[in-house]
């Protein structure tokens, strides 16, 4: 058996070694551990020992020459046929086979892999190619940015993505840095009609949703909105926020309802003034008899108002206000009507002051003129109750009282209603002062 002696790796960083001196000659016999040569590594001159006994058959490298690590530098013919050494002789053979076979296997693998995959992925591979080719054709030429302009990376990406006419863009932003937002504005101006743009912004739609190769109008955007069921986002006005807070708080109140009908013949006779106006007058009168209807809780004390301050619901489709007629008990029906007119006109012009909206004791909400037979209402702010006024049927006016139980108990409320019914039939109340 022949054992190959290789240029040994003698340090972690050694790649080649210089053969300084052969310590044995061809034909000389060696035993395990004998030094057969001196070799210079990158770190030092070191001895090369043999791990196999035998006779030196060949010395393949001349003294003074440098060869890469693992180059065969000598061959030793082993003589003994002891089991152990046989093994070790076979081993280098196996070893070298192993070594060779590993890269071969690797080669095979790298060769095989594509062919293996080819039958499976033939189509996608083609696709891929054509896609790549396509991409290559489509890749925009690198953007030429004029000296007097600067463009951010994100903006640049957008320009290339949308293949924008850079001349116009750079002209527009001469001597400025163009940011992505600028490009988006530019795209929007270019591809959307002004009206469409308004809708686009209103619905906060990304421009990426549209194929940008034509001018987009409102019709197309509306179509998109409907097909995607997009909700329109409207931010709440401070009044809307206040209303939400108010009714939410009101819903927490311990209330009960009284469903009644009162005589409406006198109301119908005196149509010169509105039902609401008459009701303000008559409610004010009755309320003056009942302290609890004029009271409110504040800081764990009961505050009792000296006046009947009646809040009246004034509304259109969008807005709802409850301005207060203060000291209604001492106002004439003309004065009350005038106040109500003021309120109505204010609804469409200026908003109400917080002064006008606060300080109420009791509310009136009338929807009878819209034909609603009966409904109930929620108490406004910290008032004691509210009356929801429905339509007149058979000379009877349908009213529903919502009462705050923490201020007014049921018995007292029943007395109040009894009084109210009486006053509705009292002609003196319907005289114009």
């Amino acid at each position: 058996m022949v054992y190959n002696v290789v240029m040994p790796q003698l340090s972690d960083s050694m790649e080649e070694g210089k053969l300084i001196e052969w310590k044995k000659k061809v034909g000389e016999s060696v035993k395990v551990g004998d030094v057969i040569a001196e070799v210079e590594s990158d770190k030092a001159i070191m001895e090369v020992q043999t791990f196999h006994a035998g006779v030196i058959k060949e010395l393949l490298v001349k003294e003074g020459s440098t060869v890469p690590v693992k180059t065969v530098i000598a061959k030793i013919e082993s003589q003994d046929v002891v089991k152990g050494s046989q093994k070790s002789e076979q081993k280098p053979k196996e070893h070298s086979q192993e070594k060779k076979s590993v890269p071969e296997e690797k080669k095979e693998k790298t060769l095989k892999e594509p062919t293996k995959e080819a039958p499976h992925k033939e189509q996608p591979a083609e696709h891929k190619e054509s896609a790549v080719a396509k991409e290559l054709n489509v890749v925009p030429k690198s953007l030429e940015v004029p000296k007097e302009s600067r463009i951010s990376p994100k903006a640049k990406e957008l320009v290339q993505e949308y293949k924008l006419d850079t001349k116009v863009l750079f002209k527009k932003y001469e001597n400025e840095t163009i940011h992505s937002q600028d490009v988006i504005e530019f795209i929007k101006e270019r591809y959307f009609t002004p009206k469409a743009l308004k809708v686009l912004n209103e619905y906060n739609i990304d421009i990426k949703e549209f194929q940008l190769d034509h001018k987009i109008d409102t019709e197309e955007i509306n179509l998109f909105i409907h097909s995607h069921n997009l909700s329109k986002e409207v931010s709440l006005s401070s009044m809307q926020k206040a209303i939400i807070a108010n009714v939410t708080a009101s819903a927490q109140k311990p209330v009960y309802h009284i469903y009644e009908s009162v005589d409406s013949r006198l109301l119908e006779k005196n149509k010169k003034h509105s039902i609401t106006a008459w009701l303000v007058k008559i409610f004010a009168k009755v309320i003056m008899k009942y302290e609890s209807f004029r009271s409110k809780v504040s800081d764990s004390k009961l505050l009792i108002s000296p006046n009947a301050n009646i809040s009246v619901a004034v509304a259109d489709e969008k807005n709802l206000y409850m301005p207060v007629i203060k000291g209604a008990q001492s106002l004439s029906i003309q004065e009350i009507s005038q106040k109500l007119e003021e309120f109505k006109s204010k609804l469409h012009t200026t908003s109400f002051s917080s002064e006008e909206m606060s300080g109420g004791n009791f509310g009136i909400s009338n929807l009878g003129m819209l034909g609603l037979e009966r409904f109930d209402a929620m108490i406004n702010r910290d008032e004691s109750g509210i009356v929801a006024v429905g339509a007149i049927t058979d000379s009877k006016l349908n009213i529903t009282l919502t009462i705050d139980h923490s201020l007014i108990n049921g018995y007292e409320a029943a007395l109040f209603v009894k009084d109210l019914k009486k006053e509705m039939q009292n002609p003196q109340n319907f005289e114009e002062a």
Partner: protein
């Protein structure tokens, strides 16, 4: 609850449950901890579990590694970041590598805690920050904590985790007040969005994050914009997902840190953004960091050596004006 009390509470709760948890460090026991983090624990758990060590940082961390190998869950305290340098061999050569070198056979459930950064005139050998070095060591989890609630949850998780964790605190945060939400389900090892916004992403961590938050109002007013502020929390691994989402939204990055600018931790974030998110940017990233000088003693000079509320405000506004805000 104070920041240091939150840390104390985290230690206390876990020590009560698991007797394998031990604390070791200089003056952590009878003295009560230099920043009172371990106050009261030696009385409750005894000297065997709250171990006063000699002034030998190499051994504090080295012994903690051995304790973890031996089945304990040590929490080692180094008095201040600068002293941790004496233990860097143990932190970097041992603590961070045993798990990997042993192909997972050894695990080290241990925490090394220390405060760092500029406090008040402690001068060059007691004021430095080392997260830039430690976060660059694979195999170490590096956590910074800037907030009372986060401190409580993060320390608990750090102790319960079977990985070695470097837990970075800040001297000026120990008396910070805050609430702990004991039912919080947050992952304290993920970045926290402290404030949402849409125009600028400001990334920071540890104490300087508080200065960022104080500067945000003025910045938003002046630039008429909306800042998103992110507390990184985990410095290794870095929660890039949260960062990417934010930067893709805002297209602008400001990185604020207290350590020296050259080679500072933020350079990693900015270089990552340049590599991965270049085409999402509308402005060059802005880095606000400490000066490249040892920390001086004099208060005026000391403050000039690190970012402050004023300098952060001013730099972000200047940068914003230059870059289309």
């Amino acid at each position: 609850m104070l920041y240091r009390e939150a840390l104390n509470r985290a230690l206390d709760e876990l020590m009560e449950k698991d007797e394998n948890i031990v604390i070791l460090g200089e003056d952590v026991g009878l003295y009560g901890g230099s920043y009172r983090v371990s106050e009261g624990l030696v009385e409750k758990y005894g000297e065997k579990r709250v171990i006063d060590t000699p002034i030998a940082e190499l051994s504090i961390v080295g012994n903690a590694v051995g304790m973890a190998i031996g089945g304990l869950r040590p929490v080692a305290e180094i008095m201040t970041a600068n002293f941790s340098l004496l233990a860097f061999d143990q932190i970097i050569n041992h603590m961070s590598k045993f798990h990997y070198m042993s192909n997972g056979k050894i695990k080290l459930p241990m925490v090394v805690r220390f405060p760092q950064g500029v406090s008040r005139q402690l001068a060059a050998q007691h004021s430095e920050s080392y997260e830039q070095m430690l976060s660059a060591v694979p195999g170490l989890r590096v956590i910074s904590t800037s907030d009372v609630n986060h401190a409580y949850h993060a320390l608990k998780k750090a102790i319960l985790l079977d990985d070695p964790v470097v837990f970075i605190e800040h001297e000026l945060l120990y008396n910070k007040k805050g609430e702990v939400n004991f039912n919080d389900t947050m992952d304290p090892f993920k970045a926290r969005i402290v404030k949402e916004g849409k125009d600028i992403t400001i990334v920071s961590y540890l104490k300087i994050l508080d200065d960022v938050l104080k500067s945000v109002d003025a910045i938003e007013k002046e630039l008429n914009c909306n800042c998103e502020v992110i507390d990184l929390c985990s410095l290794n691994p870095i929660d890039y997902d949260t960062l990417a989402k934010s930067i893709e939204k805002t297209s602008r990055l400001v990185m604020v840190e207290e350590d020296h600018k050259t080679g500072g931790f933020g350079s990693q974030i900015v270089s990552w953004v340049a590599e991965e998110l270049f085409y999402s940017l509308d402005a060059p990233p802005l880095r606000i960091a400490g000066e490249d000088v040892p920390i001086p003693y004099n208060r005026k000079l000391e403050l000039a050596s690190i970012p402050t509320v004023d300098s952060i405000t001013q730099k972000v506004i200047e940068w914003g004006h230059k870059n289309g805000l």
